[in-house]
Assembly symmetry: C2
């Protein structure tokens, strides 16, 4: 008996049949005596359909009007799910972002939540109703429609759960939890029963796209118990815990990786304090995110400067870097478009200094060359050629004892 917030993404509500299946799942939770808020996304494909229409009219369409447009996607889903719930005998009511007073700032298409009023939801709880809420959308102080950006429904769910002090915020998705690594790469990957908040942040930021990283940060800030589950398969999913890691925590919890990296090096730049800013400013101004930066002094008053970008930004970043090279009198610009990042993640790592060494040995024994290394308290990341990605991830997964015990088919 408590308050449960359940969030269903676009795939989970992608057809009328799936909406009916969601209604049945909500009905079960309701039958356990919980008050339930359901946060939904647009049906899969719907947001893209709407955006395509707008882009046909104007490739650079007004962001205010784009928000008016795409916010209809979630509104369709709340109505359909509520109709399905009522049909299934569950008393329910839908609420748009403005009806639940989801207040955001005015950054159209990437608004930040400022406040959620829960009076309306609480009143519906008192009347015995399940409340079906549109994710992703809110209103700014001037009553303009805003959206939180792609994946924002996760953040909506966490915000509602925080405001209601919910017992659990359950994120239903098309995977049944957080895995030690991507099961498509390593068939022996195991579902984790729990993962710490910090580990989840690293896994999410490194391409294990189970949850939107913003929603995880948000949940951490407000201490919302977050659980990732499958819409399509029964199971306990993975609980993201905010407790201190116990002494028994495994050293490495998971292997994260990111395939779409590219690496750029500008060689022979003047070794002066302002050089990093000079090199990176034009890149940042072009809206390109930079990751894993290394500056290597050569001793002759010159230095090499290396960083990674998303592969989609590689060409643009190369152009900009060639301009910088002329301006600062660098020797040359080199790049590698086919780089992958592999990381071992685990809160138990910081007091096991041998972990990084093991990682390097494992990769070395497979003849995988590391281009770059970076470390933090709970992860070690290396850059390798993309073609070695699967080999490296599988070797590390086995070496750190993450492979699942052979199981009987359920």
């Amino acid at each position: 008996m408590g308050v449960i917030v359940q969030k269903y993404g676009g795939t989970s509500v992608g057809t009328l049949e799936r909406i009916e299946a969601v209604a049945e799942r909500v009905k079960k939770t309701r039958a356990q005596g919980h008050d339930v808020v359901v946060v939904v996304s647009a049906m899969s494909g719907e947001t893209n359909r709407l955006i395509a229409m707008a882009k046909d009219l104007d490739a650079d369409a007004s962001r205010r009007e784009m928000d008016v447009l795409v916010s209809t996607g979630e509104q369709v889903t709340i109505a359909l799910l509520t109709i399905a719930l009522l049909k299934a005998g569950v008393d329910a009511v839908s609420m748009t972002g403005d009806q639940m007073r989801m207040k955001t700032d005015s950054s159209h298409s990437k608004a930040r939540i400022l406040d959620v009023e829960t009076d309306n939801i609480q009143n519906h709880f008192k009347a015995g109703k399940v409340v079906v809420v549109a994710g992703f959308q809110g209103r700014d102080e001037n009553n303009n429609i805003t959206t939180l950006g792609r994946g924002g429904s996760d953040t909506s769910a966490v915000a509602v759960a925080a405001a209601l002090k919910a017992d659990e915020c359950q994120i239903y998705t098309d995977v049944d939890g957080v895995y030690t690594t991507d099961p498509r790469v390593v068939p022996q990957a195991r579902r984790l029963e729990t993962i710490t908040f910090e580990e989840m942040l690293e896994m999410a930021s490194l391409g294990a796209k189970v949850l939107q990283i913003r929603s995880v940060e948000f949940a951490g800030k407000y201490n919302v118990p977050l659980r990732v589950l499958s819409s399509f398969k029964e199971g306990e999913g993975t609980l993201i815990s905010y407790e201190e890691a116990s002494m028994e925590s495994p050293v490495v919890s998971g292997i994260a990786f990111n395939r779409d990296e590219a690496r750029l090096t500008i060689s022979g730049v003047p070794d002066i304090p302002s050089i990093a800013a000079q090199i990176l400013s034009p890149i940042g101004e072009a809206g390109i995110d930079v990751d894993m930066i290394v500056q290597n002094t050569l001793g002759d008053g010159k230095a090499d400067f290396t960083f990674t970008v998303h592969r989609d930004d590689y060409r643009r970043a190369t152009e900009l870097l060639n301009q910088v090279a002329q301006e600062v009198g660098a020797r040359e610009v080199q790049g590698n478009e086919f780089i992958a990042k592999v990381s071992i993640v685990g809160v138990g790592m910081w007091n096991h200094p041998g972990v990084a060494k093991t990682m390097f040995e494992v990769l070395g024994s497979e003849n995988i060359n590391m281009h770059q290394i970076s470390t933090s308290e709970i992860k070690v990341s290396v850059l390798i050629d993309e073609k070695y990605l699967e080999l490296g991830v599988r070797a590390l997964h086995t070496a750190f004892g993450l492979d699942a015990e052979p199981q009987e088919e359920k």
Copy 2:
């Protein structure tokens, strides 16, 4: 230099190309120096698409949730049209029903407008913007989404025009005005430059479906100058005037007709005062609209009772009437499923008593039998067999001098 409200229906905004054409038309009006509010419907097909999804889940879906669902249709259009206007260089902003504070009662799917606040629109006017408003939708006092029912966008437009004291409310549709009769039946039908409010009500209620009758009543109540124009063709359309008819008004302004009528007669019922109520109550309770009622006393304490219904309601009405017949001891129930109603309409008619006689003579000379006649100050209606409809309408159109002069092609 004034305030113009333009309303574009679903066909006029049915594709992205048409939305761009509407933007061009709005741009022209704006270039004339007017403040412009544009009221739009959902893109044609969209409302039906949404309803079909809901009905798949529950044939008897919650009317509150249906309103949440279908109101997204207009929201999509306001965003797309505003994007098209901005692209065309016209400063514009969209408003949903709640943003413009379109207040209605709580009758979901057929709500009545209570009030429209114009502060928000006026502020956008001051900022030099065209305001694009979602028709058809509003909010009740508890902030629930409501809709005005099919065709309600016309009523929205008139309500906004009335609240703004607009100089004109222009209803853009797929016909270029109000015609003397349906040009598909009578190729010589002429567009009327003006039509009186009363005549328009009769034409609309008799099946000339250019404007929703509620919007005409609403315009009359608030004295809103209403003009019907084509979205696809330049022209002046037809202005609905609220002035007294002049002495020079034509006797008959138009021929209206309604094809989908059915006629029912219950014979030999007791000739007592309560009998009409006894017969019609079950019909009314079943939600069936009844038209053209005649009670004919036979002189033996018995009477015949005849009325018309929409053809779609014929079977159900017959079943109900057979039950009534048993209860009141009537002799028999008869019916005719293929009846049409033809009416001549004109404010000049009341002081030309020979008009009805002419009508009967014209129909008689074509050997068209009249089953029933009803008259009012500005119309005469007759019921005839549907198969004679075209013949009768053409003969009347010619006889009352409504045929267009042969014109050169434009």
